[in-house]
């Protein structure tokens, strides 16, 4: 989208935006109607604009589903800086060398061509929750009736001394958002001599993707086993025990990676010395490694914090669970890894996708003046690879509990794999292809 189009969006004056296709035709009219209808005290579905910030599992799904569930009545603008979507789930396979970034990258083009979502490749610099205006880094302003904020997580660099600088130098990476850093960490692993040590440091929960670090350690161990068998994987975990799929991972580590992978709980990292590749801890002795992968504590994405929405311990965003509206600002709905989770609700891509659909339905209901669904449901299926061929899963279903006004797992539902299998690895790839299409195609 060109700058002048954005300015038109901001003013909603002429509403003539030069997009082809039928959906865009309805958009044009929607804009024209907007210009007639505003300012109006009451938002209406056929004149409303929803702005979605962040095109990951949460945001892309929300953008598509607001269009779908409103039968394309509601105008949707998605603000996402990256040119294409790169999946965090499955990105550990890129570190292991069995897959490439291209395998886990999908375009945003169908959101516009098929669903009429306006995709703007930019960042949101600020949000005026009172005036309902999002200002872009490039300077444009977009007015919204409802804003969906799905900005993922931000690293709290100050919690680990020296880490910010070491990360900026490319010396100690996180690769906790898939993309160039994933490729860079892979290069570090490839360059590491046989007999070297790869250490991954895990922050106290909650953090994005609970089983992700253990999956990563397993996949790197599998790579070492084949390519650098004298090397070692060290897991340095701030938590008291493995936070997800613990028995499954531990069994694999004992059976497949004995002598190659070591798990050390209660290791809370406090500092990094990039010059010597040394990690410092609250209590234990320093650890030096050839490749350090340090995940600091995380909080809601920067734009959520900056907008004053991180009202749970100044880290995460409390939401009303019926519509995911922030408890700090009206008309701003926060989904995905940024929210203060309910009991046993993981910060996962699938959960963000599920939350996005409840949110999209709630927004469509609200803009039509309807009651919210009093009993929304969420579901989650999360696969982890233990090597490049076998996977395990955890699954859950969460129902809204009216008495406690939160989501709770449905008793008796959900569970884990009994053991890693190639069958489930196939299902994991099927899940990926399906959910990427559900978000983007």
């Amino acid at each position: 989208m060109k700058r002048r189009d954005l300015l038109r969006l901001a003013g909603a004056a002429s509403g003539s935006v030069g997009l082809g296709g039928c959906a865009a035709g309805i958009d044009r009219l929607s804009n024209a109607i907007s210009s007639i209808g505003r300012p109006s005290p009451v938002s209406r579905a056929d004149t409303a604009r929803v702005v979605v910030v962040g095109g990951g599992y949460g945001g892309a799904t929300a953008a598509k589903y607001v269009r779908l569930l409103s039968q394309h009545q509601i105008e949707v603008v998605l603000i996402e800086p990256d040119a294409a979507f790169v999946s965090c789930p499955l990105s550990n396979l890129v570190l292991g060398g069995s897959r490439t970034l291209a395998d886990i990258t999908r375009p945003y083009t169908s959101l516009r061509a098929t669903h009429g979502v306006r995709v703007v490749h930019d960042m949101v610099a600020s949000i005026d929750a009172t005036q309902r205006i999002a200002t872009l880094a490039s300077g444009g302003e977009i007015r919204y009736d409802k804003l969906v904020l799905s900005p993922g997580v931000e690293m709290i660099w100050t919690e680990v001394t020296g880490l910010r600088a070491a990360s900026q130098q490319g010396r100690v990476l996180q690769a906790w958002k898939a993309g160039p850093e994933t490729a860079a960490l892979r290069r570090q692993l490839e360059a590491m001599p046989d007999g070297g040590v790869f250490a991954i440091s895990i922050p106290e929960a909650p953090y994005r993707c609970p089983p992700g670090p253990y999956e990563r350690a397993s996949i790197v161990a599998n790579y070492f086993k084949a390519a650098k068998p004298r090397s070692k994987v060290l897991i340095l975990d701030a938590n008291e025990d493995v936070t997800s799929k613990g028995p499954l991972f531990k069994k694999v580590w004992a059976e497949s990676y004995a002598g190659l992978l070591e798990y050390r709980p209660q290791h809370k990292a406090t500092g990094v010395d990039a010059a010597t590749n040394t990690l410092k801890f609250e209590i234990q002795d320093d650890v030096r490694a050839d490749v350090l992968n340090v995940l600091p504590p995380m909080r809601a994405g920067a734009i959520a914090v900056q907008t004053g929405l991180a009202n749970s311990n100044a880290r995460w965003c409390n939401v009303n669970w019926l519509n995911f509206e922030s408890t700090a600002a009206r008309h701003i709905h926060v989904i995905g890894d940024s929210i203060q989770i309910a009991s046993l609700m993981p910060k996962s891509g699938h959960m963000a996708n599920s939350q996005a659909k409840v949110t999209a339905a709630a927004i469509v209901a609200e803009l039509n003046g309807w009651e919210l669904d009093p009993a929304p449901m969420l579901s989650n299926t999360c696969y982890s690879f233990v090597d490049d061929k076998r996977s395990v899963h955890v699954a859950s279903v969460h129902a809204y509990a009216e008495d406690e006004k939160t989501f709770k797992p449905v008793p008796g539902s959900g569970g884990l794999s009994s053991a890693p299998s190639e069958l489930e690895a196939g299902y994991a790839w099927n899940w990926a292809r399906s959910i990427w299409a559900d978000m983007l195609a």
Binding site: I26, Q71, P376, M377, S379, V397, Y427, D438
Partner: protein, 116 residues
């Protein structure tokens, strides 16, 4: 769409033109259809948006499956009569009433995407 037109007489003609040009065979959502479709959206991450399996996916689509078939399968997953990896665990998360709602929705869902 038609309801929208009625309230905005000034743009009736233009909107009608676009709708007919697009041949959109979609009805405006109702509170009931919205809830049913969004409940069914819980299945979409693995079985495809609106129950239409994604290109290249190996799991079955659910759109157009007769309601009694889906109800029987979901109940079999719940009781353990049908085994599996994920589905027996997920099926136990839905009440019989919800399963009937899901089945009714998927049974009427088109197997091909309507033109947008």
């Amino acid at each position: 769409m038609t309801a929208m037109v009625a309230t905005r007489a000034g743009v009736t003609l233009a909107l009608a033109t676009v709708v007919s040009a697009c041949a959109v065979a979609q009805e405006a959502p109702t509170p009931q259809s919205l809830r049913a479709r969004s409940l069914a959206a819980n299945c979409a991450a693995c079985h495809g948006t609106d129950g239409r399996a994604a290109a290249g996916a190996s799991l079955p689509g659910l759109a157009g499956v007769p309601a009694p078939v889906l109800i029987e399968q979901m109940k079999a997953f719940k009781t353990g009569a049908r085994t599996g990896t994920v589905m027996p665990q997920l099926a136990k998360g839905y009440s019989d009433a919800q399963i009937e709602q899901l089945a009714a929705w998927f049974a009427q869902a088109p197997t091909k995407a309507p033109r947008q």
